[in-house]
Amino acid sequence: MIGGPTRPGGRLVAWLYGLALVAAVFSGMGQMPILKRYYVSDLPLMGWSADFYILSDLHYLSVSLLLALYAWRLSLGTRLGRVSWSWGPRSWWGWLLLAVLLVTGAVKVLRNLGVFFSPSLLVVVDLCHLGAAMAFMVTGLVVLIGGRRRAETI
């Protein structure tokens, strides 16, 4: 490669990623019965968020988009040399959280298909999924507030 780092996808993909991430976090956190309790569902045009089935569908769809983007990025990342990604985790911590979310999420998807898992295992899976999502969210907020340099360190 000659010149500066490449930025595959540009802004469109970065925006898509941001939107999918917000939708995934919102629909995921909304799986806890808090949106109606704390009036979020009472906001204009937000009535749908009181329906857990709609939230679940939104979670599946937004995560599908995230999976497509991460798969695209990983398939490019190994071959393109110097790549500057304007979206996605910038440290091993972020990727670790994503890996936990991926594994625990996969178990939850299988469970929703009717595959049997030990109930005790599922408690751990559910709590790990929730914990990793919250950690990811907090990390994202720190990055937003602290800027990119901060992001390199966490």
């Binding site: 019965p33 009036y39 599908s64 497509a68 990025r73 398939s75 299988l110 049997f116 295992l121 559910d126």
Partner: protein, 364 residues
């Protein structure tokens, strides 16, 4: 039931294949195992039920004391619109589901084919094969055991009542002022614990029968492997349809629970079609709601038992589609999406313009 490959079985098969592939590389947790017909199922022959409520009494005697009394005063939830639901002063209520009453009898009087008919229906959790109440619980408080029992772990449940909302029959009932939420932030998160029938799990695990099955003097209920119970239910429903003068293919209208919500561990067979029974239940619930709105409050129910009016805690018997169908469909998107992502990446790498290594400086 359809002999073809359903969408769900295809997805489950794909999931099992994927799990098998993964297992060939890394050991799966031993706890993970496919459901393989070990689920127990109850069959209720409603033609035998005389409405004596022996089952209700036995259930209450066995389990009511296991539901704790709330702390007093019960912490006020924030915001104010979150209701405190306290049934501890109304433990005697047994004509609807409450946290202290996991089973009740729906007593129906209605006309069918010009005759006055009576039907008594024991109502409790249906123990769905793929229950949304447990699947969608964010904390893992809902549990499905290998024997098909669907229950709620009171040590984990925070009483958010999501399980009740997503249950097609709204079965779980909340008792405020009990449970783990008291040790967390009782005003801001949670609101008690949800309770419902666990089909006598502690007894079933010891090889005993559920109390409602055991004590019934008429032998209304039987319990066994689901495949066996389904075969018996279908045979019984065909017989009832024939006696009712219905065509042979109409027997499904005499079964409830076979396909409801994707299949349940509770099969009702009735001598009267469930389209008729369902309407009679709705009518009865409307009547009770009307009485409540007229301020009559309480009246006397069947057998002289006190009856609390109101629809809630009294499930319907409408036909119910599979609540998890949408999630099952969207699982396919989760499988296809990363493949599409990889394909797009390869296209960019090896196809025409993409081989230059992408766009410079953030442009498209």
């Amino acid at each position: 039931m359809s002999q073809g490959i359903s969408r769900r079985s295809f997805l489950k098969g794909s999931a099992a294949a994927a799990a098998g592939l993964a297992a060939s590389r890394a050991p799966l947790p031993q706890a993970a195992q496919a459901a393989s017909g070990r689920e127990l199922c109850t069959l209720l022959d409603l033609s035998k039920c005389v409405g004596c409520e022996e089952c209700v009494d036995a259930c209450r005697e066995q389990w009511q004391a296991t539901v704790p009394d709330p702390v007093k005063p019960i912490p006020k939830p924030f915001p104010e619109r979150v209701p405190i639901q306290d049934w501890s002063g109304r433990k005697d209520v047994q004509d609807r589901l409450t946290p202290y009453n996991f089973l009740y009898l729906e007593h129906l009087d209605f006309e069918y084919k010009g005759e006055s008919r009576e039907l008594h229906i024991p109502r409790r959790c249906m123990h769905c094969l793929n229950p949304p109440c447990t699947n969608l619980c964010p904390f893992g408080a809902g549990r499905v055991e290998a024997n098909g029992v669907v229950h709620i772990d009171p040590d984990i449940c925070l009483g958010g009542a999501k399980c009740k909302k997503v249950c097609p029959w709204h079965i779980p009932q909340r008792q405020s002022g009990v449970g783990i939420y008291l040790d967390l932030m009782p005003s801001f998160a949670g609101n008690g614990t949800m309770f419902k029938c666990h089909r006598c799990l502690p007894l079933v695990e010891k090889g005993e029968q559920p109390r409602c099955v055991e004590v019934c003097p008429e032998g209304v209920q039987s319990i066994g492997p689901r495949a066996e119970m389904v075969a018996r239910a279908v045979a019984l429903a065909k017989e009832m349809a024939r006696k009712d003068g219905a065509p042979a293919g109409a027997y499904r209208d005499y079964i409830y629970g076979l396909e409801e919500n994707g299949g349940t561990g509770t099969l009702y067979v009735s001598p009267i079609p469930f389209t008729v029974v369902s309407k009679a239940i709705d009518q009865e619930h409307r009547r009770l709601a009307q009485e409540a709105s007229q301020g009559k409050g309480r009246n006397q129910g069947a057998g002289g038992r006190r009856r609390v009016t109101g629809q809630r805690g009294r499930p319907h018997m409408h036909r119910v589609g599979d609540s998890m169908a949408s999630a099952e469909n969207l699982s396919l998107a989760l499988v296809v999406a990363p493949l599409a992502g990889v394909a797009a990446g390869f296209l960019k790498l090896f196809g025409g313009r993409g081989s230059s290594g992408g766009d410079e400086g953030g442009s498209l």
